[in-house]
């Protein structure tokens, strides 16, 4: 994991590919008009990707469940975000709830 050649190559490919995705949107938009239905699906797909990323990073570790403390912290964060608490409060609450539960011996 510490081989610098592997790490630098990985960084270049990930950074270059990500930049290409960022370039592609404005480039396509100036040349193609998407039907409204496709635009809506494109927009919803970002929500779907982010939601599944939340679910897998909050609830799973490797191929198994992540225990109780982390999901509880993320759940608390979700409730605060729903009540329109600012980002910083939401993020700190997630860590605090998770840390306190672990301190109490809950994994």
């Amino acid at each position: 994991m510490n081989d610098p050649v592997v790490l630098i190559t990985a960084t270049l490919v990930l950074a270059g590919g990500t930049f290409a995705f960022r370039l592609a949107g404005p480039f396509l938009r100036s040349r193609i008009t998407f039907p409204p239905r496709a635009e809506r699906l494109i927009e919803v797909s970002t929500v779907v990707l982010l939601a599944s990323l939340v679910a897998t990073t909050a609830l799973t570790e490797g191929h198994g469940p992540a225990g109780v403390a982390r999901p509880a912290g993320v759940l608390a964060a979700g409730l605060l975000a729903w009540r329109k608490v600012p980002f910083l409060g939401v993020v700190l609450a997630a860590a605090a709830v998770t840390a306190v539960l672990r301190l109490l011996g809950i994994p």
Partner: protein
């Protein structure tokens, strides 16, 4: 350099105090999540420079967490890069949705690099082009500084402490993503599609390599597609 300074000055004049406060809070939150990213990366065995350089050049948190997580769990770097690219594919629809705020000339290269979950959401929420542009750039430049800085500080924490889990740092990343999608979840159709996708990803996690379940989640879109067909 002078050009950037002039640009920052005009951003400063265009933004009002309330918007500037919101943007600063998001940048600080991003910096705090950066702490957890840097700490987790270094505690799982990466050298200190790596999360900082990856953060600065990729500038997309989820793919960086995913990369570090997959390699730390024993996955191959190739799989980790592919998973990161898959997750970052969402920047294409972001670019389709974003208003024309990226700038001109060489300036546009930096503007393109600053495109991410937070900057697009902030730009879309403003009225009028000057405000959209100012919000996009202020948020983007703030994140460009806060994210790698947070990763570096977190990396220092991770190098003196083995058990970053005790601080609950691993809960911060899903928390900020959740905070970003909560406004979209107030809409019923998006909530259904999002929940369906999340269920698919969870069901697939025990069986598929990390990164793939998130893509398989796009089948959750069929909920929206079928409903729209039924409407017609």
């Amino acid at each position: 350099m002078l050009f950037i300074l002039l640009n920052v000055h005009s951003i400063w004049r265009t933004l009002d105090r309330a918007l500037l406060r919101d943007i600063s809070l998001v940048c600080v939150a991003v910096g705090v999540v950066g702490l957890s990213y840097g700490a987790i990366a270094v505690a799982s065995g990466f050298p200190l420079w790596f999360p900082v350089v990856l953060g600065l050049t990729v500038l997309a948190a989820s793919s960086e967490f995913l990369f570090v997580g997959i390699v730390a769990a024993g996955g191959s770097p190739v799989a980790a890069v592919l998973a990161g690219l898959l997750v970052n594919a969402r920047h294409l629809p972001f670019g389709l949705a974003a208003p024309d705020v990226l700038g001109r000339g060489w300036h546009r290269l930096l503007g393109t690099h600053l495109m991410n979950d937070e900057t697009v959401v902030f730009a879309l929420a403003q009225e009028g082009m000057p405000r959209k542009r100012a919000a996009y750039w202020a948020c983007g430049l703030g994140i460009l500084v806060c994210w790698p800085l947070g990763a570096f500080t977190g990396g220092l924490i991770g190098s003196v402490m083995d058990d970053t889990d005790a601080l609950g740092l691993d809960a911060m990343f899903p928390a900020i993503l959740l905070a970003l999608i909560v406004p979209a979840f107030r809409d019923r159709d998006r909530r259904r599609a999002g929940l369906a996708g999340a269920a698919v990803a969870l069901a697939a996690t025990p069986f598929l390599p990390t990164g793939l379940p998130v893509l398989l989640a796009l089948t959750g879109l069929s909920v929206t597609a079928v409903r729209e067909k039924a409407h017609r």
